[in-house]
Symmetry: C2
Subunit: 296 residues, 2 copies
């Protein structure tokens, strides 16, 4: 890739920090400017050498940058897009790392107006158990999938630049529409999170919760690991992707009803068949994925 | 503990094999006799030194044994209890490793008749990803919980012996009723398995299943890990513990309906509160458990 003169990273947490580290390592950028509402995080990012310069605001960071990478909580993205759109050069490209896309795109269109074609909505499928710039690593996106969801209006050169940067840091880029993205992740990510939160919520609300938990083992721990995720983040994702998530939930409840009926009438063969098919589908997925799936 | 002369292990898989290895290591037994419907497994158990002698049948293994440990699939337990009850000395003790207890106890009462007081129903909360005697390890039960569910008729000395053996191999023994056991595990084990199987089953049945799975990440992998478990085993557990499991499922669906309503009406604060409480409950559980929870 051509080396970018300046990249602005707005939100210097795990994702923003890792993107900065990895793009620099790949030789893709000369100078990285960071911005963050959390002054302490910005200071740590500078001290750790993740960014070269700390800017006062997202707009300041974006001014003169070739690429603006927005990695803030998904609800804050529209505000940042608004500020950044007013500051960037006409040829600059903006991309984000938000976990939902339709709502981000809808708001981006409102906030960015004539700069909207320079925005390439994105979502890297990567993460770690820990957060914050201290956890940032140059390897976070190696082999991870990144979904870009350009619209009809999005400039082709902007999509190319975003794709090139992601590929430079080792990611595998997929293009979908924003709606496809949201439907896919409602099923393989947002719904499982909801199901895990609901289970721990239900058990945790009982009088004998600590007795119950004391008998829980490794299966329960893994099943509920995603219920240890950030409540703010998952509240926002659930609300932003409401329609797709509720549609997935309805399908899931339908399948659960099938299982319930089979158990209720004691239909062992049909129950075993469904379980066997599920196990095979999961096994095929895991043997088919070239590397073990990244965290999220 | 006093050293037992002979222990019979019926079903020399992961659990039976590990119990044999660990009890021998603890100096708790002189001779271990094994029995298994699978002749090849029995041969491997002998070759690996897990058992000293291979018996022709469960009854043969049990004859003259001080303790009979039954670690066969839960549906086969009644048949084994029947055969063993006819063969054992009046002072011998029988215990099992079945994942459900009420149905096992009900059938034990029928099959064992006057020998029933010698039966100590048990359930070790331990396992590994792999099965079979080759995976047996002396450490499997170290720190693991074992639930014993004696009945009113159960002889106190029988319970003591079972407890002593489990403690000798490093397990932490808890006593509950069979019903309490089944209710507890319906909530922290059987329901999560059902939920995971249902999710993979639903997604796996779609036309675009492989596309969906290709976007799944580490959260999905962990959430669905238990859907990789044995379909026969979980079919049997679901059917044997039907009433408790369906009751848990109903409670869970009720909680899911609360989440759905909050998402539907966009109530962010209430949604976040439930998620936050769930995360805290899980965190408290994990920080409270002295060791990381064992597998199952």
């Amino acid at each position: 890739m051509r080396r970018l003169k300046t990249v602005a990273v707005v939100g210097v947490g795990l994702i923003g920090g890792s993107f900065a580290l990895a793009l620099r390592r790949a030789g893709g950028v000369a100078t990285i400017v960071g911005a963050d509402r959390d002054a302490a995080a910005l200071e740590r990012a500078t001290a750790l050498g993740v960014i070269d310069t700390a800017a006062e605001s997202a707009a300041d960071a974006a001014r003169g940058a070739d690429l603006v990478f927005i990695s803030v909580p998904v609800r804050q993205i529209p505000t940042v897009l608004h500020d950044v759109a007013l500051a960037i050069d006409p040829t600059a490209v903006i991309t984000d790392a938000g976990s939902t896309k339709e709502e981000v795109v809808r708001r981006a269109r409102e906030e960015m107006r004539d700069r909207f074609p320079r925005f390439v909505p994105g979502h890297p499928i990567a993460g770690r158990e820990t957060s914050g710039v201290e956890s940032a690593t140059v390897e976070l996106f190696r082999g991870a999938r990144v979904v870009l969801t350009p619209c009809e209006e999005t400039d082709a050169d902007a999509v190319d630049l975003a794709r090139t940067c992601w590929e430079a840091v080792g990611a595998r880029v997929a293009l979908t529409t924003a709606r496809q993205h949201d439907e896919i992740f409602a099923s393989v990510s947002h719904l499982p999170h909801l199901l895990a939160f609901a289970l721990v919520s239900e058990l945790g609300s009982r009088d004998n919760a600590s007795e119950l938990f004391s008998f829980a083992a490794g299966g329960f721990r893994d099943f509920t690991r995603i219920a240890g995720s950030s409540p703010e983040m998952w509240r926002d994702i659930a609300l932003q992707n409401r329609d797709a998530l509720l549609a997935e939930l309805e399908r899931y409840e339908g399948r659960l009803a099938v299982f319930r009926e089979l158990i209720d009438k004691g239909d062992g063969p049909a129950l075993e068949r469904l379980m066997r098919e599920a196990r095979s589908a999961r096994h095929a997925w895991l043997s088919g994925s070239k590397r073990s799936p990244s965290s999220e």
